[in-house]
Amino acid sequence: MSIDLQKEFTEYTKNLNKASKDERIKTAIGRAVEAYRKTVDETLERFPHTPALAAEVRTLKEQSTANMQGLLKEAMASVERNHGKAFFAKDKQEANEIVDRIIGVKKSVVKGKSMLGEELHMREYLEKKGHEVWETDLGEFILQLKKDKPMHILSPAIHVPREQVAEIFSKFFGKEIPPDIAQEVAVVRDFLREKYFTADVGISGANAFAADTGAAVIIENEGNVRLTTAAPPVHIVVVGVEKLVPTFQDAMKVVEVNWRYAQYGVPGYVSMVSGPSKTGDIEKVTTYGAHGPKEFYVVFVDNGRSAMARDPEFSQALHCLRCGGCMYECPVFQVTAGHFGHTYLGGIGAVWTAFVEGESSLEKAAPLLYSCLRCGRCVERCPMQINVPRMVGELRNRIATGEKTGSAEDAS
């Protein structure tokens, strides 16, 4: 079998070239890069223990990746012990089917931002199944209405200026919304507030998952994850198996490093969710579903991750915390934003694409892999010191020699 990549490259190049001439991207990314560098410098100065903590997390991630299957088993048992239900999905299809089955028929869903959700195209899948799904992160909400893809993993709508947001909102809400950021934020707050309390199900991702306690740790600033995980009667955590770490303390270390390199001294909210809401206040009888969800589910997703973990060249890709710091340092990203990427962006995104897109992973990754400059500045920024240029070289070699990166079938 032979695949001619020329067409993919031609289309992709056209798109990149267009993005590089987009003044909105230029202004937005330029501003973001400057702010990022300044804030991170200041933040690291304020919390000087961070680099040492990052080194500790690096070791922790190495060990966790090596023992991913063991941690998965332990985590699933912990979730069940907490009166939650744990599932394992080997690929995209399975993950979406499991979530759909848990939700039921034609339900209303509120969703927190999750890169894994993007990877699985979960919202689109659930909408097709007849559910009403609302993205609650403001950036994701804008993109949901705009039918667009995220341009940055942390600030997905980084490329949409307030004037365009006003246009989109005016059309959607059927009334004039001025291009005023405070008013734009307020109108979404009012709209989603009602959704949180009428939704049947809340879905969130997780930044780290502690195997010993069965606890998902989620960081955010808007408060939407707080509401999504607490208000609806059912909560589902969808988490990649690479987020597993042995203990709760480990999970906290991971998230602190994560937010620090994502330019926060401390995020607005850190949510820990480990099971259904419960109370024993009446006669010490444990009763589930007090103020929060009565039912709690965790879906652990593989989708190419164990293939990555098994390959000594690529297991380090799983250490990525998704702080997004590398993107701000990437010369290609600075010019093209999320157009240099698939679901995952930049050089590390090219590597991930080569594993998580099923049978056509390497094919989809090829144009991304060849647009990486292999300049190596991302490695300087990365708190996990992930050697992206090395992996990009190895993947180019596999493309040139026709070797595959493994598929979902390899997942145990």
């Binding site: 070239n17 590089s20 647009s371 292999r374 493309i399």
Partner: protein
């Protein structure tokens, strides 16, 4: 099951040229070595002066990129143009003519970079030898582009040429060659035990002998990614300039935080490459320097293409001015 993926033509042609002709654009050995005619460098010696043909390539790359920007890379005319000599394109492009016209127009500056580098080393008191028309390109692009299975036999060929010089040390003009010799060849070539140095390191070792270089205004150093990050050479450049009594500025993103010039994507994504180069030039010009100084053929070519007001020079050209004065 292995799935064969056909990469864009431009990459396949570069690969073919390296493997078959020992040069990414199939330049002839006589063209690559023409700069050395007057110097009568010996073919054998302790220290091998290695150009890899990379500075010599630059005028051709630029000319090709200019054409490519207006051309569909999948077209037949394109593949003919990319270094397949002696073939007349039925669509009307004469590959040989493109080579010839470039030679006539632009060869001087980039060809003389090698000459100047050799003269500088000799003036500093180094005895160097040179493989001349026999010299083969290092294969750095085979490594870069993923053609690792081609690199193994090719590296052996390169190593054979190098071993004929009897040299114990190779001094490389291009950091890309130095990188592949230093970090990749040991894994591919049996008994590869030559010492690898860059031109910058060699000059640095005898920097006390450097004459002063006069500049109107100041210079700013553009650290090449390979030099600063893979080879960890950055302070040496500053110390060389101090020895040459040159006032230099630092860009906000420098040394191991240097910004890439965009060069690596020049062949596949020329427009993006150009935009990246322009942005980098902007960062360098912010310092108010009148000359941008680099030490890598691809940085030189890329930044030259993205320049605004400041001039772009290779360290070799720059230091040579001191000897001329």
């Amino acid at each position: 099951m292995a799935v064969e993926m056909k990469l864009p033509t431009v990459l396949e042609i570069i690969r073919g040229n390296i493997v078959k002709h020992g040069n990414p654009l199939a330049l002839k050995g006589s063209e690559v070595a023409s700069w050395a005619r007057e110097l009568n460098l010996p073919a054998r010696g302790e220290v091998l002066f290695y150009t890899g043909g990379e500075y010599q390539l630059l005028p051709f790359i630029d000319s090709l990129v200019k054409t490519m920007t207006h051309m569909d890379q999948g077209s037949k005319g394109f593949s003919l143009m990319m270094g397949v000599r002696n073939m007349l394109d039925k669509a009307g492009i004469n590959a040989e003519k493109i080579y010839a016209s470039v030679l006539a127009k632009d060869k001087d500056r980039f060809n003389t970079v090698c000459y100047k580098a050799a003269v500088i080393l000799k003036k500093l008191g180094y005895e160097i030898c040179y493989s001349g028309e026999e010299e083969l390109y290092s294969g750095a692009l085979l490594y870069e582009l993923g053609y690792w299975s081609d690199l193994r036999p090719y590296a052996q060929k390169v190593a054979d040429v190098i071993s004929r010089s009897g040299a114990k040390t190779i001094v490389c003009l291009s950091p890309h060659s130095a990188e592949v010799f230093k970090l990749v060849y040991p894994k591919l070539v049996k008994d590869w035990n030559v010492e690898i140095k860059t031109f910058v390191e060699y000059v640095w070792e005898k920097r006390d002998k450097l004459p002063a270089v006069k500049v109107d205004g100041s210079v700013v150093i553009h650290d090449s990614c390979r030099l600063a990050r893979e080879l960890e050479i950055d302070e040496q450049l500053r110390e060389i300039l101090q020895s040459a009594k040159v006032d230099y500025k630092e860009a906000f993103r420098n040394k191991k935080w240097t910004t890439c010039c965009g060069g690596p994507s020049k062949l596949l994504f020329p427009e993006i490459s150009h935009t990246i180069a322009e942005r980098r030039v902007g960062e360098l010009e912010e310092t108010g320097a009148s000359v941008i100084l680099t030490s890598c053929p691809y940085c030189l070519s890329a930044l030259q293409g993205g320049k605004n007001t400041a001039g772009v020079e290779d360290l070799i050209e720059f230091l040579y001015r001191g000897f001329e004065a």
